[in-house]
Symmetry: C2
Subunit: 143 residues, 2 copies
């Protein structure tokens, strides 16, 4: 039951909530021992805050719940490749495992040639098409 | 009166407050029309949160005060070259002017070859020695 598809689907639901709020539709969840300890979606417009990406909110919430700032034995599922800001935050957090849906060729930290913490395993391509399509539809509706 | 040295000195005072709290001593202020609209120091230990760098807190506070997420006509003074996470956040914020004290050859976004928003002017070296010495003393006390 607790597969990467299962958890990415919950991250995707978060992205759909963002879409309904007229936010760039990106969602994520953080999982620790098969338990979801944080879920979040992008809220930069509603909060008027460029730092309110889904990942940043989830990192803060998960660390708060764990009582420590390092995301050891945690997996973060996110529907879009993290940007430089979020990649930097995940590096500081020493995340164990990052699962990415869609690529971000323009602003993704991997596409900028940045590495995460050496401990972090990176998996890409889970639910990539649905996640990319949701973003594409969002930006199309803005034109 | 409102020189770069004047504002960096206030950022440095924030770094000193961090030092006294046993936090990595980095401080910053954001200035808009010669008025300080945010000041902050690193609080990653106290808040158990890797995202609680001085710059991140100041960006959120300044945007809240300005009522918009872009830091147009704002200068951010910081005692240490921002990391990748903070550099990414400043890029999203379209900051007008970044004034840096000490360099961070290991983790600084400039040293990682990253650029900020094309609109952002970057000035380095203001109060660099004092700021670097405060950090050096902090890490020496930890050994």
């Amino acid at each position: 039951m607790f597969t990467d598809d299962y958890f990415m689907n919950i991250a995707f639901q978060q992205a759909q909530i963002a879409y309904e709020k007229d936010e760039v539709p990106v969602g994520c969840v953080i999982v620790h021992n098969n338990r979801i300890i944080a879920k979040a979606h992008n809220l930069t417009e509603q909060l008027n805050d460029v730092t309110a990406h889904a990942e940043m909110q989830a990192i803060t919430a998960a660390a708060n719940l764990l009582g420590g700032k390092y995301l050891i034995d945690c997996s973060l599922y996110v529907t879009l490749e993290p940007c430089v800001m979020c990649g930097g935050a995940l590096t500081w957090a020493q995340l164990s495992r990052l699962v990415i849906a869609a690529e971000d060729a323009q602003r993704g930290f991997l596409h900028k040639g940045l590495a995460l913490h050496p401990k972090t395993q990176i998996i890409t391509g889970i639910m990539a098409e649905e996640s990319a399509l949701l973003l594409k539809n969002f930006f199309k509706s803005k034109r």
